[in-house]
Symmetry: C2
Subunit: 229 residues, 2 copies
Amino acid sequence: MGTRQGYGQFCPIARAAEILATRWTPLVVRELYFGSTRYADLRRGLPRISSALLSQRLKELQHAGIVTCAPAASGSGKVYGLTEAGLALFPVLESMGRWAQAHCREDMTEDGNLDPDLLMWNIRRRVAGSGMARDRCFAAAFHFLGVPSAKSRFWLLFRGGEVEICLRDPGYATGLTVTAHIRTMTQIWLGHLPLETAIRRRDLILEGEQPEIRDFSRWFVLSILAVRD
Amino acid sequence: MGTRQGYGQFCPIARAAEILATRWTPLVVRELYFGSTRYADLRRGLPRISSALLSQRLKELQHAGIVTCAPAASGSGKVYGLTEAGLALFPVLESMGRWAQAHCREDMTEDGNLDPDLLMWNIRRRVAGSGMARDRCFAAAFHFLGVPSAKSRFWLLFRGGEVEICLRDPGYATGLTVTAHIRTMTQIWLGHLPLETAIRRRDLILEGEQPEIRDFSRWFVLSILAVRD
DNA sequence: CGGAATCCGGATGGATACTG
DNA sequence: CAGTATCCATCCGGATTCCG
């Protein structure tokens, strides 16, 4: 019978692979590690996973002692998180990321992997986590080239210490507009292209008030997995 | 369509997962990293993989620039190996192993994962690699409890700098007999149980000439992934 | 013998629709 | 919003066969 289960090996790599060498599983753990807690947020960070498979993976990972699940304090739904064992998986994810950064750099920014929604979602999470949101209300517009016009414009709205993604002009003072090709922006995010280089070559254009332009490189944070010099 | 390909994400973890988060793939890389080069050796280290899947994985990994394949210099067959990118995957495997050692220790020595053939194969490879084989001819007998009698006896034959596994008494001077339950031996191999403790508790019995008994703990090397104190 | 192709049945995953 | 249910394509395990 094609009964697919474990590998039947005592090797610790085999044991880890029984959990991690399964489609989507490392990415589910990544999303939880990067701070998503709600089912809908997980789906947003994993746009191509089917709902059925996501809930199956969450169940498997709970059973393996990697994921926690609790009813949300604020009303409805559930809140997911990582156990200690789940948090301890980060070195595995990190070494996977380092390997790809060193050996698959071009693959990551192939056409099929460029996704403005996903990029903005990641940028938002990282900017929000870096604790820079102040009391000042302020919106930064992002304009991506090389994508369908329906997905080309986003606003990051800083307000009350939160950072929100808007798909329409939020009406707040837009002190800054960032324009770049989606590939350029993704390469910057991944650390493949220094922000300063892109600005100097005019592959990334900053428009707006001078103080806001100068401030951009302070609050705009790269991916945790970005290549650093 | 269930067209399964990439994840459509620019994230480096996703790129690495496209390669590694596939059944058997991490273990194929592990075997190559640990020194197996021939198809038959790979199958011996991966006894439950089907031949079709192994050859498919090897082809995929060649295409991904991780595995090399060349006709064997000595006559027939092919020799497999790792490219630089393949060797660079070791930190990923190592962190997987460390994670399992820290968080799945009991799972690894469950009944279904105990395998005397596989254990001897791994011990042989590691002992041979540690360069201790001398000009002296010498056989060490291993006797495992808790397994069918057909798989309970093995001899490690040291001869001419090589180490060979025999399933029958090779006839050479067997200066040493090691007797232990297969679980005990596996736990020692993984570093879960110190050799000295097992000997002291008489969970592992060394019989033979005094010099050979004393020598055992010098040439018997634990897994690369063994837990160290 | 080493390395791989073929076929089959069962398991897994993707797409879509549906439910509380 | 947070998942299930269903259907079908694909993947995998096991056996057999093939080729050089």
